[in-house]
Every structure is written in C-alpha cells, then in structure tokens.
C-alpha cells in the first residue's frame, strides 16, 4: 500500500510572520444555524445504484455487495428506538473483506459524492451506524481476524470486526485481557467499541476503550491510509505529536474508517471478590460509594440496581430472592489475593453502618451468581410488564457521582409523570446510568410518551452537570443536545470534521445536529395547534 505521498508542504504559520496576520475570525464561535456539508437531498435518490453496485463488484474483489431489497432491510437498524420506529435501509451495503477494498471503496465514494456509513455489530443504541441519509453501509464485521497477539509486549493487533468476547477468549490462554468490558461483550466489535469509546462495568478502575487503544489504521475520507500511534510501533506509550488515536476514538466513523487496531493488554488479575450491599435509601447508597473511595479503595466495578430492577430480577429468575430494597450495590475488587481480601473486608466495614445488609465473597461460584443477577437485569426488566418492549432512548446518561441519588429520584419522577415504568441500573462508580423504559410499541401514545421521557432524561443529565451519553455515543439521537452540551467546543469539532471530510460523506448523519435529517422520530411530532 503506497498511501504516504510526501509532498513538500509550506508551514501554515510563516516563520517570519509573528502575529500580525492572525485570522481572528477563528475565535468567532457563534451558534448560528448551519448548513450541512452534504445536502440532505443528496442522500442517494439521484444516483444510479445498479451501476454503482456493478462498479463495486469489480472494484472490491474481497468484498460482498448487498443490493437486494430484502437484504438491505437487514442493514436498516441498530438497537436504537429511532430505528425501531423508522428503519432506514441503505442503497447498498458492502461487507468489507480487506483493507485494500476499504481504501478503494472510500476513494470511489469520494469521487462520486456517496455517503458512507461504517457499521460494526450494529448493537449501538444511537442510530450511529444506520444510513439515515441513504448511501452505502460499510459492514466491517467480516474483517474479524486477530492478526497478532504480541505476548511479551502485551498488545493485540486486530481487525475492526473482532467481537470483544472472542478477543478475550483468545487472550485467556496467555493470561492476558483487554480490560474494557461492555455489557454487549458477546456482540460488540472492537472497531465499534473504539468508535464509540465504549466503557463498561470495569471502567471505574480501568477507564474507557480509548485508554487501551495504542494505535489505529484509518482510511481517511479521501482514501488516504494513515497509521496513528507511530507507524509500526510496539511501544506501550508515546508523546510524539498530536494524539490522533484519541481523535478517531469516539468519532463514530465521522472522520474515517478504522481498519486495524493496536490494543493494549494487561495480565488477568489473579484474584477477585464481590461485596453486595442493600440499602433502604438511595442517599445511603450514594454515600457508601463516596466513603469507599475516601478510604483509598478503587474497586474494579461498582454497579447499582434500583428497586424496580430488583423486582424485575426476582420475577425473571424466581429463586434469586433479592430483597426488594431501594438500591443494591455490587462492589468488585481485583488484584492479588491478600489485597483483594483486605479491600473486600474494608468495603464491608465501611458500608455496614449505611446498609441494611452486606455480604462479601471470593468464591468464584458466588461471584458468578452475583454477576449473573446483574447481567440479566437488561433482559429481566421486560418481566415488569409482560408483553412490553424495551425502548432504547434516553438510556445512557452520566451524572456526577455525587448527584446519583438525585438522578435516580428524578428518573422515577419522570416515570410517574408519563406513566411509563422505568427501571434504572448503572455503573455508579463513574456515574453512568441506564434507564430501561418499557412500552407497548404498537401503542402510538406510549411511543409519544417514551420519546418525551427520553428528552427529559437527557435534559436532566445536562441540568445536573453530566452528559447525555456516558458510554454509548451520540449518533443521530443525541446530536440535538450537542450544542448545549459542548457550547463553542462543538464548533471546534466541526472544524476538525471539515478539515478531514470536506465533502461531509463519512457517517453523515451523526454528531452534528444540522446533519441529522429533520422529521426523524427522535421527539414526538408537534400536533397542529398543540
């Protein structure tokens, strides 16, 4: 691959220029309404798609071109409630078979002004991998080889379609682990995790996916293939220049297509223990978390389940027998065996005065049983209302840790206001809360109400000094909150986007509100005269 054309370039800032010619307009970060780079009408209608499909079949020997009317429906969704209501089949889907093909496809799209939306497992909840403006979906799930496990340097070189759980299964014999652990481990791809900067339960101690990505190969919008994190490097750290790796982590495919990842690994901690604590009041659960940190203990995970979650688990798995108190906390500690025991005993001692009941265990079977109760929550919530559906919207806020009890109470108030059951659980160690709404998807009034619930929850997060998305990403569904969330920083993001993707073709309905087509069911339609 010969992508690195070295053209002589002029320095942007002339060495002699000092400061007189500064372009002060750069500081003008006004919030006027913007035009999208790619016009909304451009999304595919006027292209000759059969001819494009024929071109791509010729150009992309290692890939498959999906063009049938039914099979394109299979690429019309992710897990977002938006795409449940409004599936958007792309004009074409390409199942990429090689990096060369991705480069060729991106060049072709640039030449013909075709929108391109990368897709991993489509387990996201933001419509971020759906071609809401038409064009081509680039499925990367079949590029799923683990190219190398570099054991001495504790790194793995992966293609983007490697499924997270399968990576850790392959690493286990080497006693290594890729620590980010989203709840969607069995489906999420590492490319998708990097693109959304996914977190997971153990982010409390180990941080987000971005903390474990050392370098990326990325195909830019003009077809240039770059490698971030220093070309061919196996260093575990670097200070060389702008952190481009971090730029593409969390960019949700708006800046380029990730075709390879260099991931940092760590040894599997030899011991683990879990402390389970039950609380009669939400505030006591919040205090317990702060008291544990104040004692100098950093649990690997702290999870909270609210009263409705506990009832749901008991209904879903009769015999689990969780007391239906206001909140349950699970603290996990990991490390060496004596340290784990010390931490678990300390947490038990600290939490006991605040809790109704506390127990801890280092027995693998008991740990598995307790995590099992946590892991079934997402599915169990459905048991609160048989026949209902989860609606994934307003499902991923993150608030300051100190405001968690308040956030949980507010969410229940919103639930009461709109008369829809909401069960909330989350990674309280980082303040991330997942609100699970249950609706009858065939009832238009419930659809309307749950969209209002999502909007109120997003506004609640901003009001409490948090963010609308703790770990799932922005996609199309949260773009409308980005001006309020980022202020002038959103304009800086726009300028980066403009510089790297001037035609606005890469995942063109994500992140920026003006890029999201109007009339999507993100909020209920205004009734005339209402």
């Amino acid at each position: 691959m010969n992508q690195h054309d070295h053209k002589p370039s002029t320095p942007a800032l002339q060495h002699a220029a000092g400061g007189a010619e500064h372009d002060w307009r750069l500081l003008d970060l006004g919030g006027e309404s913007r035009e999208p780079a790619l016009q909304h009408t451009a999304g595919g209608a006027e292209h000759d798609w059969p001819a494009i499909a024929a071109d791509l079949r010729r150009l992309l020997p290692a890939s498959r071109i999906i063009a049938g009317p039914a099979e394109l429906q299979a690429y019309a969704h992710d897990a977002s409630f938006l795409t449940q209501l409004a599936p958007h089949p792309p004009n074409l889907a390409v199942i990429a078979g090689s990096e060369d093909d991705v480069v060729a496809l991106v060049r072709y799209c640039a030449r013909h002004t075709l929108p391109l939306t990368p897709r991993g497992a489509a387990s996201g909840q933001t419509a971020g991998c759906v071609a809401l403006r038409g064009g081509i979906v680039l499925a990367l799930n079949a590029m799923n080889r683990i190219l190398e496990i570099d054991v001495p340097n504790m790194q793995a070189i992966c293609e983007p379609g490697v499924v997270h759980a399968q990576l850790n299964e392959a690493l286990a014999p080497h006693r290594l682990v890729f620590p980010p652990d989203p709840g969607s481990s069995r489906m999420a791809t590492v490319g998708g995790m990097a693109s959304t900067n996914a977190h997971g339960m153990r982010a409390a101690k180990y941080g987000p996916t971005g903390a474990w990505v050392l370098g990326l190969r990325v195909v830019l919008a003009d077809g240039t293939l770059i490698e971030t994190g220093s070309v061919s490097s196996r260093a575990r750290q670097s200070s060389a220049g702008l952190e481009l790796t971090k730029l593409f982590v969390g960019a949700e495919g708006t800046l380029g297509v990730i075709t390879r990842l260099r991931l940092k690994l760590m040894p599997i901690p030899p011991a683990r223990a879990i402390v389970l604590a039950l609380f009669d009041e939400l505030d006591q659960a919040g205090e317990a978390v702060q008291a544990v940190y104040a004692a100098g203990i950093v649990p690997s995970a702290i999870e909270i389940l609210d009263a409705r979650c506990l009832r749901a688990v008991n209904l879903y798995r009769p015999g689990t027998g969780l007391p239906e108190v206001e909140a349950l906390l699970l603290f996990e500690v990991d490390g060496n065996p004596p340290g784990v025991r010390y931490d678990a005993e300390q947490i038990t001692r600290i939490v006991t005065p605040l809790a109704r009941g506390v127990e801890w265990s280092a027995e693998p079977a008991r740990i598995a049983a307790l995590w099992e109760a946590r892991s079934v929550v997402g599915a169990a919530i459905g048991a609160l209302r048989p026949g209902s559906n989860r609606a994934y919207c307003g499902e991923d806020i993150c608030v300051p840790v100190a405001h968690i009890p308040e956030a949980l109470r507010e969410i229940q108030a919103i639930s009461a206001k709109y008369d829809l059951p909401i069960a909330t659980y989350g990674h309280i160690g980082g303040g991330s809360l997942h609100a699970g709404h249950l609706i009858d998807a065939r009832n238009p009034d419930e659809v309307r109400r749950v969209l209002l619930v999502a909007d109120e929850i997003h506004r609640l997060a901003l009001r409490l000094g948090g963010t609308t998305t703790g770990e799932h990403g922005v996609g199309a569904v949260r773009a409308r909150y980005m001006p309020a969330e980022h202020g002038p920083a959103l304009d800086a993001m726009r300028r980066i986007k403009q510089a790297l993707d001037p035609q606005g073709l890469m995942n063109p309905a994500t992140l920026f509100p003006e890029d999201v087509p109007p009339d999507l069911p993100i909020l209920p339609r205004q009734e005339p005269g209402a």
């Binding site: 498959r64 999906i66 049938g68 009317p69 039914a70 099979e71 429906q73 299979a74 690429y75 019309a76 969704h77 992710d78 897990a79 795409t83 449940q84 209501l85 409004a86 599936p87 958007h88 889907a93 199942i95 497992a121 489509a122 387990s123 499925a139 799930n141 079949a142 799923n144 379609g161 499924v163 759980a165 399968q166 969607s184 069995r186 489906m187 079934v376 997402g378 599915a379 459905g382 026949g387 559906n389 989860r390 994934y392 998807a441 065939r442 238009p444 009034d445 659809v447 309307r448 009339d519 999507l520 069911p521 209920p524 339609r525 009734e527």
Partner: protein, 460 residues
Amino acid sequence: MNGSGPRQEGAAAPAAGALHAGPHTPLAAEYPNLLACVRCGLCLTSCPTYVLSLDEAEGPRGRVAMARALLEGRLAPSPDLVRHELSCLVCDACSAVCPAGVYMEPIQIALRATLESGLGGDRPPHSPWQRTLRRLAFRFCFGSMARFRLIARLLWLYQHLGVRHLTRATGLLQLLRLQRSEALLPEIDARFLMPRGEVYPAAQAHDQTPPHGEAHAAPPTVSFFAGCIMSTALAEIDRATIRVLQRAGYHVANTAGQGCCGALNAHGGDLHGARDLARRNIAAFERDGQAPVVVNSAGCGAMLKSYAHLLRDDSAWAERAAAFSARVQDVTELLAGRDLPLRRALRLVATYQDPCHLAHAQRVTQQPRALLQRIPGLVLREMRESTLCCGSAGIYMLTHPHTARQLQQRKLDCALATQPDIIVTANPGCLLQLQSGLRERGSPVQVRHIIELLDEATRA
C-alpha cells in the same frame, strides 16, 4: 404523532390493520413476536448461517427485520427475501440466547406458510406446480403412518435387493446428482415398531425405592411417542428406548392412533398439514390420561411441545394442545431424575453433540450429560461449538446441501478433536448427518443415540 401509514418514515409501528400481508396471514399472528426484537445482536454469534456468512441478512436479527418489513408493507416478496429466510435452519439457537424472548421457530413457520400460500404477495418461493408437488409430498409421506411405512419398506427393499448396489455401481446416482442425498439414507431397520396401544410392563427386577413414608406404589405409566422415522428406519432405537424405560420402572404404553409430529410440514410452510397431525396426536394421547409423553427424537419433542403455540388460536383445541404439550418430555429429561440399573461398564471415550431441538428449542443440555456421566467406565469429553447446528435440520441437508455440508464438516472437526470412540446425540437427523460424514471420511468413530448406550449399560 399523526396516524400515518407504515410507508411513511418516522411513523410509529403500524397498527395491525395496516399490515401489508394482511391480518389473516399466518405471519400477522407473529407480529408481537417480531416487535419484541430489540435488535441488540446477541443472537448473531449463535446463528450457524451468520457464523458462516457474516452477512446480517443471514442472521436472526436480519431475518426478523425482513419479516417485519414484509408484514409492514415496506417490502414486497423478493427472491432475496425467500433465499435468506429459507436458509434459516430453524435451529432456534437464536431463541435460546435472546434476552427479549423472540421465538424464531413460529416466525419461520408462519413466514413460510405465508410465502407458500401466496398471501405474502405475488411471488411465492415456488412455482404453483412445485408447491403442489411439495404439499403432496409432505401430506403423502407424513399424513399417514401406513403410507410412511410403505415408503420406508420400499427403501428397505432398495437397500437389500441389490438395487442400491446397482445404482451406485452404474453411476446412476451421480447422473441424477443424488449421491450425497442417497448417502444420508439410514440403513432401514427390517422390523418396524407399530404403535397398537400395547403396554410394555415395568421390569420386575427393578427395585425403584419408594418415596419416604409411602407404600410401594404401582409403577408409573408413560406414553411413548414412536415417531415416523424413528419407528421405521431407526426402529431398533425405539425398541431400546422402551427397554430402558421398562428397566427404569415404567409401564410403557405404545399409544395407538399416533402419527408423525408434523415438524417437517411446519418447517416447509404446510401449516394446515402440521395442525392436522397435531390434532390427531393430541386426540390419540388423550386416551392415556395424564401420563407423560416420552420422546426420543429431539426434533419431534420440540414440535410436540410447541403444539400449544401452533393451535393457540384454535378455540376448540387451544386448551387441549396446551395440556398435551405440558405432558411432553424428552426421554433424557425423564430419566435424569430416575434410578437406573446400570449393570455394565462401557469403557468408551464419548463426546456429546447437542441436538438443536433439544438444547435450544427445549433447553435440555445438562440431563443427557448427567446420564452419560452415570454410565460406569464412560469418559465424557466436551467438544467446541457443541450447540452449533450440524446442518441436518430436518430436510435442510437436502434443500441446502452446500451449507449443510459446511456445518457437517465443522461439527465433525470439533467432535473428532476430542479423540472420541463415539459421538453421542439424541436426534435422528443429527445421527444420520454425522454418520454419513464419518463414513465419507472413513473414520472408525461411531455415532450413537444416547438411549443405545443406556440400553447397553442397563442390559441384564
């Protein structure tokens, strides 16, 4: 939110009245089942056709999306719809892992019935004469056990009068491109098992300890479901099942009037034929009162257990079907909690292959393993991907030979990696699929139904 139709983007999910394929198509009855899918993708890595293709349209989530689009009028029946939906093995691996409770088997049955009946639009998957032929074949073969036995007897004659030798030697099979299908034919048992209502008594010698404080009760009775292929081609396994049940202390009723379970009809889209067979079986087994209905074929067991769903909208039969389905147990479920006179050691290394319709459709995985581990001398080694379909899947190995073969070879690789003496399973389809693959490889490894091992180990 306005009351817009389903074609309009941004509309809520349509009310049932707006459904394109019509409220009277079988698929419309599965609409809540389709809507239950939250599209999380957890099913993908469990789906055999997705694992092979990595194409979303070849996975459960995509199939649900396509069916929903068809029903909501966003899609007309098209060749690619038919191709992707019919390539589903209906193994239910996706249903088994689904956190939202989507149940794939009835979706596939309803979808196929909708497409077959032409209600799904003007382009059904088969031409009218093909459809008639398929229907006749389903109804003819499975509609009456007398006819089924006649066909099985003809196959036996084919195998034993030198005709097979002739067709193989002359290359006639290659000419007709039937050599692979022919290789899948079981060695037909000379002696069929005909259910005539006879009762096989519990073994006298067996000393079943009565529960605490109760008098020595009369041995319990079970009703035996003989199956069409099991009672003919694999009749010896049926007889072994009856023997093991007797030794486990059961009176075994070989219930008269029973027939084929209807699974092949249902999976082929012949919903009427499947329901007829269901009603006949329910009526036949009602004569035995409340006795458990014991099955040794995972595929049949899954079908019998789903009669409740199949007939849920039939007011005359819904309740009877539910009562019947509640009685059905796989033979391993029944025996797992039972004392067995395990008199003989079997010094074998065995690996167990989970039949889809036992592991996924019935969620029975531990009982067969527990039974195998109780056999003295037997060593059980787990294979990788034990619950990934072997490709047999009813008549799938005939309709989709390429995919079926890929899955068969993958399964054999996983099974043989454990270096077993025998591969154990609990379903006729898996048995034949694995046997034909091993024969082709010239492997000395045997495939056995679990009941054959229990029969040997409990022999006096």
